[in-house]
Amino acid sequence: MKDNEQLDIEAKKDMSAANIWTAIVLITIAIIVGMMPFFYLKDMVVPG
């Protein structure tokens, strides 16, 4: 049985590297956003 990477290559140019880099950029954004509450928002929110 052919695996997905193999079919990728048959179908079009190999996008594996681009896919991995896109995923790295997106997960970096997610990690930064997820860490923000711990470092910033604690001092930013003051009840009126």
């Binding site: 048959e10 179908a11 896919n19 896109t22 995923a23 997106l26 956003v33 923000m36 009126g48």
Partner: protein, 536 residues
Amino acid sequence: MSAVIHEAHDDGHHDGPPAGFKRWLYSTNHKDIGTMYLIFALVMLFLGGAMAMLIRVELFMPGLQIVEPDFYNNLVTDHALIMVFGLVMPAAAGMANWMIPMMIGAPDMALPRMNNMSFWLLPAAAILLVSSMAVQFIPGTGVPVNTGWTLYPPLSVQTGLGMDLLIFSVHLLGISSIMASINIVTTILNMRAPGMPLMKMPLFVWAWLFTGLLLIIIMPVLAGGVTMLLFDRHFGTSFFDAAGGGDPVLFQHLFWFFGHPEVYVLLLPSIGVLGLVIPTFSRKPLFGYKPLVFFMGFLFALGLVVWAHHQYTIGMSLGATTYFMIGTILISIPVGLMIFNFIFTMWRGSMTFETPMLFAIAIILMFSFAGVTGVMLAVVPADLQYHDTYFVVAHFHYALIPGAVFGLYAGVFYWLPKWTGHMYNETHGKIFFWWTTLSFNLTFFPQHFSGLAGMPRRIVDYNIQYIEFNQISSIGGILFGLSHLLFLYIIIKTVKGGEKATDKPWEGAQIGTPGLEWTLPSPPPFHSFTTPPQIK
């Protein structure tokens, strides 16, 4: 790596799915994973629906009938979490998995192994979620999770072991959503067939691009917030404890920074489905494709910065309150324009009223109603009266059941012939539509009145003056729940057989959008595109 793969190529292996449980457990196939997402969502629909029916049975009469107050609040909490994280998001992700690669001409998702993991985290999260409810029956595990889905401290710091299980469940759900979103965004950006620029993608694909980006931004904040909650519960921190220098209101900001855009996460895939169903059954190209994409982008951006309209009663400054009020009211502009776009698409079209189209029209009518009550709730002095009443419950059920769930039903009926290779029974589909729509309105319309009269939400008992509204709601709720047995029957019957579906089962499919899904057979082969499709 690629050289090795080329050498192994053309070795005569068959191209079909592997046999047995390995096909599902190890699957990297977008259609199989999509099917698993959809089955998971269906199971969760019945679990969350059963909880809702139990809530409505309890509220049929004032006083305590069948459940204890803490268990009632646990039901309210888990019903919400299951419907949001177990039903709507996985069902929308299932449709994305099934349809996006076929629509854009990709051989599969960009990161197929991560796709497998995204799905298989969900059953684990569901087990933790159900355990968080079951653990209350073990002596010594403390108070059940009675906070509502918002998990506000200090109550959530004081509840028992169930809250820890729930927090871990939310972590897994968050990881699953983030990974699925990364995969979908990467697939859309990198895997489109030659000749398909972004502005030629079907609206459903655009809707999921925005949904995926939204999830990547908001889910980590919820994960961070509940982790801080876990620290407060067990590791002596005081993020949300005023006695230790923290602030419980901080959690509300973190939760609603996630919670409000989450509404659009639930809503946008359904808008994408509308963008396909309405042109198909109106036999006219979508009116204003580019503006619709722009409006979705506007909704994406504005949705991220108006979260505190859920918290008007906490005592924010006048400036902050005014900002959040104006921002929230502004949201009605892109949403209203989208609705006009869909109405203009139908205008002078050759309309027919198959089940997906009936759901689409119902969405436009009933979601608009939720939009009107939404503007009412956005206005600060009015909201101070409506806050925490059944008016809010009625509003968000009108937003989410037509806005999200009916959109999913429209999608299921629209794509069921493509997925299964069989046409569903149109008469059964129409009976299901009228049954759900009428019973839904019977359930939630009276709640506007009980809310305006002051009936508070999330309380097991109520004053005797609200009894009529609640009895109508309960009868509607039971009928609404039972209608889903017909939904299940229709799906099983269609999967098992029926009239053979053609490659393009709807006459008007593909009008105006170059989605490639209709170029494939019904059902599509195990590997959709082995050579790049050409788009003219």
